[in-house]
């Protein structure tokens, strides 16, 4: 198969191929997001003795599409007292990086749509940090007290969990000796999946990524019973859809990152690579929904101390352990 990692310079053909690739990844992500939301509602429903969406289309499969359409055609409301330019900018700022991080995820062995850049891991972490600005600006620009508190909480939470998240994946980078996600998968393909030697790192990653995604039990920024909807309380219509989309694209991206770093990416016996990848991504997403169904929400001050006092020392310990291990072996 054609692989652009070999293409050394930009030609018209390469450019066109990239454009087509981007569009395909974009559509893939949208499709995954649509059915992630559907799966969320179904799994939540089943675990709660309910049926979940079942009215629109067979088994309610069209429900999310209808929801998205509804959001898109709704009236676009910008509050009078809001900071207009920032209010408009915030969803874009939150949304664009969420799609950009997908460019480094190796979906399959023949990573057709994957940018084979040598700092893939760093690229992901760096871009996902930009989203925080969008969330914070959204909360600020709405000129709403709940949104402000939600935005501030969100910024504080995502920043403090970015650190243990970054630290926890360093162990993997040390194991593979590279930041290139393709190399990391290849190293797991030949040896153990990283979840075995990096189990501590995996646990830290799991917790930190849940917080990073603002999902239960770390869903404080949009804590419904306290802040009603958090930073996107004043958003409606397609701007609100953008925020929701960001959230679920990140869920997909984080699941893909988790699969890539710890679960061996596309590698696995018998089945084709893309299927293995899909299974692993779904396992991560299912776990998130499962947690969402069980856990109450953690309290804001506990959240911070948990990140700085528990997760950060643990992840540092993990790095040291891995480094020592690598030196000796």
């Amino acid at each position: 198969m054609w692989n652009w990692s070999g293409a050394s310079h930009l030609t018209w053909l390469n450019g066109l191929a990239m454009l087509i690739g981007t569009v395909i990844v974009l559509l893939l992500a949208l499709g995954v997001v649509t059915y992630t939301i559907y799966a969320q509602r179904k799994i939540l429903g089943w675990m709660q003795g309910r049926i979940g969406p079942n009215r629109l289309g067979p088994f309610g499969l069209m429900q999310t599409i209808a929801d998205i359409l509804k959001l898109l055609i709704k009236e676009d409301i910008i509050p009078e007292k809001a900071d207009r330019s920032l209010f408009l900018l915030a969803p874009i700022l939150a949304f664009v990086p969420s799609f950009m991080v997908l460019s480094v995820i190796p979906f399959s062995r023949t990573h057709v749509f994957t940018a084979n850049i040598s700092i893939g891991l760093l690229f992901y972490i760096a871009l996902s940090a930009i989203t925080i600005h969008g969330v914070m600006l959204g909360g600020w620009a709405s000129n709403n007290k709940y949104a402000l508190i939600g935005g501030m909480r969100s910024a504080a939470q995502m920043l403090s969990y970015e650190v243990p998240l970054g630290m926890s994946v360093l162990g993997v980078a040390l194991m593979a000796g590279s930041l290139n996600l393709n190399t990391i998968v290849m190293s797991q393909h030949t040896g153990w999946w990283n979840i075995v030697p990096q189990f501590l790192g995996f646990c830290i990653f799991l917790v930190a990524s849940t917080a990073e995604l603002n999902r239960t039990p770390f869903d404080l920024p949009e804590a419904e019973s306290e802040l009603i909807a958090g930073y996107h309380i004043e958003y409606s219509g397609f701007r609100m859809a953008f925020f929701m989309l960001t959230e679920y694209v990140y869920l997909f991206a984080m699941a893909a990152l988790c699969a890539t770093l710890f679960l061996g990416g596309w590698s696995g016996p018998f089945l084709p690579g893309w299927l293995w990848f899909a299974i692993k991504v779904f396992a991560f997403i299912f776990f998130q929904f499962w947690i969402q169904n069980t856990m109450p929400r953690i309290r804001a001050d506990h959240l911070m101390s948990f990140s700085w006092k528990v997760l950060l020392p643990l992840s540092l310990f993990n790095i040291v352990l891995t480094a020592v291990f690598k030196t000796i072996v």
Binding site: Y146, I149, T216, L220, S225, N293, M295, P296, D301
Partner: protein, 374 residues
């Protein structure tokens, strides 16, 4: 030291935040005006009255039987107990003899109602704390109780079941067996809730040591029910001033130790177990036949005077105070609403707490706005 000085010199502004009346966890239409500095609450003021229907005033124009359906709508999740509270006061005033079978039916329905109400309290408390599933689970169990009540008296929420001198309907055939089957089922479910909720570290960290008050404060504010018992003060009207036939049953009054939100949660769970014990014994002793409505004059006329009697409602002491001029309608009726009294402590409890604790404390005080506003 320098750091704290700097922190003090930063100019901060207090902010007034309206929680409610349209807010997902105010348990009805309730507004809380909180003054916050950062995330710390400086002052909180409950604003009530959004659900006010003037039940007490309406009662002055209604015969005693006609008031009963209005009591259904006070604390709408424990209508049976409200029904009983009114009927009990009138019966005491008239010195009526209640048939055995009616007494047992009253005990069974009231204690099942207590289970249903506590289930909802626990479920909605967990929903306030951000756990979604328990709320939906409790509705499944509550549905069985509600269905049994529906079979008994034809309504799912506003039962209008008790009458002065007895109850309206006798138990339909097979109903008592349904209740008997329900008890082990419910015990199994309580075990499940224990597994799901009580052990969860996140839940514990949110409720342990939060919203603490001691017995003196509780008594000074006139609290009753679980809010009072969570401080370790043994006060349950079913034991202390036995009404109906509660003295025939063997049950315990669970008590808390610390007076925090966790104690109030766990007391709800333990009281459900005790209620099931009472129901179990009542079902065993249930008389096989007999009337369910005693000899009551066609027109209930309470002799002139003032009457009060309180019973142990789900949320505390629920009492009806009736001033009668000897007519078929009360001259004045005053309801001692436990939710209303318990709510008074809220501003005191919230002072100095963080915003995240607001919902945890409000939920644990366990109010029903239909009763607060009456």
């Amino acid at each position: 030291m320098a750091l704290t000085d700097e922190a003090q010199s930063i100019r901060t502004e207090e902010m007034i935040l309206n929680v409610g009346p349209q807010h997902p966890s105010t348990h009805g239409v309730f507004r809380l005006v909180v003054k916050i500095s950062g995330e710390t609450i400086i002052e909180a003021e409950p604003v009530i009255g959004y659900l006010h229907r003037g039940t007490e005033k309406l009662a002055e124009d209604l015969q005693y039987t006609q008031i009963i359906p209005y009591t259904d709508r006070l604390d709408y999740v424990s209508a049976m107990i409200n029904n009983y509270a009114l009927c009990h006061t009138v019966e005491r005033a008239l010195d009526l003899e209640i048939p055995e079978r009616a007494e047992y039916l009253r005990i069974i329905t009231m204690e099942l109602q207590r289970v249903a109400s506590h289930l909802l309290a626990v479920g909605s408390y967990l929903l306030d704390l951000g756990a979604m599933s328990p709320f939906l689970y409790v509705f499944q169990e509550r549905e069985r109780i509600v269905q049994m009540f529906n079979e008994l008296c034809g309504a799912r929420l506003t039962y209008n079941y008790m009458r002065v001198g007895g109850v309206k309907w006798d138990a339909p055939p097979g109903w008592i067996d349904q209740v008997r089957d329900f008890i082990p089922f419910m015990r199994k479910k309580l075990k499940m809730y224990d597994d799901l909720i009580t052990g969860n570290e996140i839940f514990l960290s949110r409720v342990r040591g939060i919203g603490v008050f001691n017995t003196e404060t509780a008594l000074a504010y006139g609290l009753s029910g679980i809010n009072l018992r969570s401080t370790g003060f043994d006060w349950d009207l079913r034991k202390k001033k036995p009404y109906s036939i509660y003295n025939r049953f063997d049950f315990e009054v669970p008590l808390g130790k610390n007076g925090d939100c966790f104690d109030r949660y766990i007391l709800h769970m333990q009281e459900m177990e005790q209620s099931l014990r009472i129901v179990e014994q009542a079902v065993e002793q249930f008389p096989s036949s007999g009337p369910v409505l005693g000899k009551v004059p066609k027109m209930v006329r309470v002799p002139a005077g003032e009457y009060y009697s309180g019973i142990e409602g789900t949320r505390g002491e629920l009492g009806f105070y009736i001033v009668s001029e000897g007519k078929d309608k009360p001259y004045r009726m005053k309801i001692r609403k436990p939710s209303f009294v318990n709510l008074q402590l809220l501003p005191e409890l919230l002072k100095g707490q963080s915003m995240a604790n607001l919902i945890a404390i409000l939920g644990a005080v366990d109010i029903v706005l239909g009763e607060v506003d009456a």
